[in-house]
Symmetry: C2
Amino acid sequence: MSLHPILIAGQWRPAQSTGSFHSENPATGEPISGEYPISAWADCDAALTAATAAAVALRTTAPEKIAHFLTRFAERMEARKAELVDLAHAESGLPKAPRLGDVEFPRTTGQLRQGAAAVLEGSWALPTIDAKLNIRSTLAAIGPVWVFGPNNFPFAFNSVAGGDFVAAIAAGNPVIAKANSSHPGVTRVLAEEAFAAVGEAGLHPATVQLIYRTGHADGERLVSDVRTGATGYTGSRHAGLKLKAAADATGKPIYLELSSVNPVVILPGALAERGVKLAEEFAGSALMGSGQFCTSPSLIVLIAGDAAEQFIQTAAARLQAAPVAPLLSSAVARSLAASVQTLTSAGAQVVTGGTPVAAPGCRFNNTLLRVSGAEFLAAPAKLQTEAFGNASLVVTVRDAAQAAEVLTHLEGNLTACVYSDTAGSDDALYAKLEPLLRERCGRLLNDKMPTGVAVSAAMNHGGPYPSTGHPGFTAVGIPAALRRFGVLQCYDNVRATRLPAALRDKNPNGKMWRLIDGAWTQRDVGA
Amino acid sequence: MSLHPILIAGQWRPAQSTGSFHSENPATGEPISGEYPISAWADCDAALTAATAAAVALRTTAPEKIAHFLTRFAERMEARKAELVDLAHAESGLPKAPRLGDVEFPRTTGQLRQGAAAVLEGSWALPTIDAKLNIRSTLAAIGPVWVFGPNNFPFAFNSVAGGDFVAAIAAGNPVIAKANSSHPGVTRVLAEEAFAAVGEAGLHPATVQLIYRTGHADGERLVSDVRTGATGYTGSRHAGLKLKAAADATGKPIYLELSSVNPVVILPGALAERGVKLAEEFAGSALMGSGQFCTSPSLIVLIAGDAAEQFIQTAAARLQAAPVAPLLSSAVARSLAASVQTLTSAGAQVVTGGTPVAAPGCRFNNTLLRVSGAEFLAAPAKLQTEAFGNASLVVTVRDAAQAAEVLTHLEGNLTACVYSDTAGSDDALYAKLEPLLRERCGRLLNDKMPTGVAVSAAMNHGGPYPSTGHPGFTAVGIPAALRRFGVLQCYDNVRATRLPAALRDKNPNGKMWRLIDGAWTQRDVGA
């Protein structure tokens, strides 16, 4: 059987494989043709050696070349857009329109272009100059970056082309992509175009490398290898924490984006004012991508009563009426069924759904579960199990005090939302509950569902452990996302001609923001 | 036997002790009166509970109050300066003048005042506003911070008053100080003044707490406790990495400043041009604080030849002629002897020193060791053993190629220096070696010894693992050092009146730098 080659050191070459896999069409359950290798350690080792050389070359590569690569990659992606969207649709079951073609694809190419702009401008690195003491510092490239992409965004978070890829490259690092096993075909085509763009831009040929899959032990070995600079991982908590332990043991930064239930608290005034509308808004958000968003609203907190019951009934009706979209893979379907089982065994009752759909493909009925505040407080850990997919849990609390108690039991989350009324009747309760949510989430929203994650400089797609591995960084948003892949480098009394361009007296491009003697400025030192 | 009380929850109260200890005068070897408790877990637990309440209170405390605390603490320290300097001298053996009284003390109070200014100004948190999308983010307080201070700076890095203390408090967090066992008396007096200043400023009484010592297992438990926000640790690699493993396992950020040999490369032109002067400069730097600086130059790389021999002889003569100052403690003396033993057993030859001084107190003869490049390459790990104290190792390499090979074997270091001549004859070799050092250190110096660590916004007192636990952060320098103790918090569509002051349209103090729609500015949004 012929296996697809991997991309190592500027060559598409056969993997040293220990096995193989293929993707499936989750909408039909049919296998998709094309067999991909599971790499042995020799492939990881070869990739690391090549990436080390690429990292050295990139240190003296002009920002213009890196920016040119990112832009050309975006353009080349666009030239194969129809093919990529077809492939992503087949491998993920996500709709071509609007999702893949009209939203995720342009988001991804837009992100590549934002990365290009960030490279040219250079402020992401927080260049800082103490002119009097002649001490100067900046973030600089960290070295080879492994990117483990998730299953749920075949473009926007792909290990080639996605957010971590852009951030790592824009920060001056080579990327070794570890494809997600559910969409190897999309990843292969993206890598073809990325590699062609590497050549056009004249970058070191090992700037982008691709391995499809490794064994678990090799995964732990590669994130902790001495040649590795850092790792970006988006995926399950279980696998992510194993990688974290391995990387931590050798002091290798690893940035994880793990599970999150994204609590949504709807205060009584808002429920009274626009409960039906909010139930519809919730149902729409909960079904986006079949609920397979990192920021899907999976835990709704309502104060018990008629309005809460009406919310639950309206939401359930919406979920029942909506088509059951395929999940990303049979593994997701199995995991979702297991999570729902965990939730129900911990006391959650099924309002609607709760069962798999036999065929075709990988589907689970749109699901709403409910539990009382007292029941939640009896098993808060189990009832925060992430049910990745189209299932959410409503917690009906007795009163404001119990709402507060429930919130204090929440783990770290990527997001938290509060809906309140427009007249101000919820404001006192908001003030009471907000601090509890604030310290437990990365992004706090008002009056808006969390599923939209804008690529904004002010975005935080991150949060307290265990939603991520470090609460100080974001995986989305340029320039901040780049800083995960930088190391702080200081130059003390270093002669002027030996300084990197960003730290010389003259602003290298006239637009880079630098902190000079306490003031942010685009001017030259002394000007 | 009466034990000194600990400071918990706003009270000086008896410890739940499992044992006790006292400090010694390392210059004489005599015990210093005053017995200090080793706390049981109950003390750590009580401190964490109180700190949790303080962290909540600090979130809504005006920056002016926190700044007032830092300023008043500095003033109160100054009022007891003579007593503090006497105590620090007795407990550390470091000279009162110029070191303790004229350099370290004012550095410490200066740092407190810089911290106060950073709190008032607020830019440390990198407030970022996307006005169009109404997404806003900022770093915010991380929660209770444990500070483990080192033995070598009784003021400037003290767990009360030192760099990590200032950074954690200025970022809005309560500190639980774990005193260094070699100077509990200084730490006690500093805590008295800090606590008095807490009262004067009207901060939550548990904003500053003090425990003198814990068992190792409790140390690992406290850094990983769910209530802990983060930990700042400066000290030995062995203990630091144990704490890191514990903190990593529960996703708690821990910022470590560990060992470093601080390579200094003197290129042939510089050696020819000013070798004797450089040998004197080296000897002076190596003996600063008896070599007990984190940035002490402990590994000197020279190209073998007459000039190198002259450098070695001159440096050795200087070290022989200099008085043998006491080490910080008998533990340091024992550890230094063991490290020198490791180095010699790995092939290093003693040029001068190499033996302990019997009495009085804790002393080790000023020591210079040497090894050839080939010998170094035969045992690079052992020959990078940090000999914390007045001992350094010269590596004489055969040629430029061997110099490069030696540098590629270096671990991560806080600093690295290159001396080159003024005529330019070293420039080609500098260009060849610089990248090898650059990726292995946090701060790269030219023509200057590394022992001065200026409190500058552009300083990096950090570096690649294992010199620290994360290469993106600095332990010295304001505002950057504060960012270790912040979490990224985003506000998405949050109503204007509910935003923190730093993220409202109006600049809260007219001088805070904020990144608004891609430009750093002190203006209001829309202005």
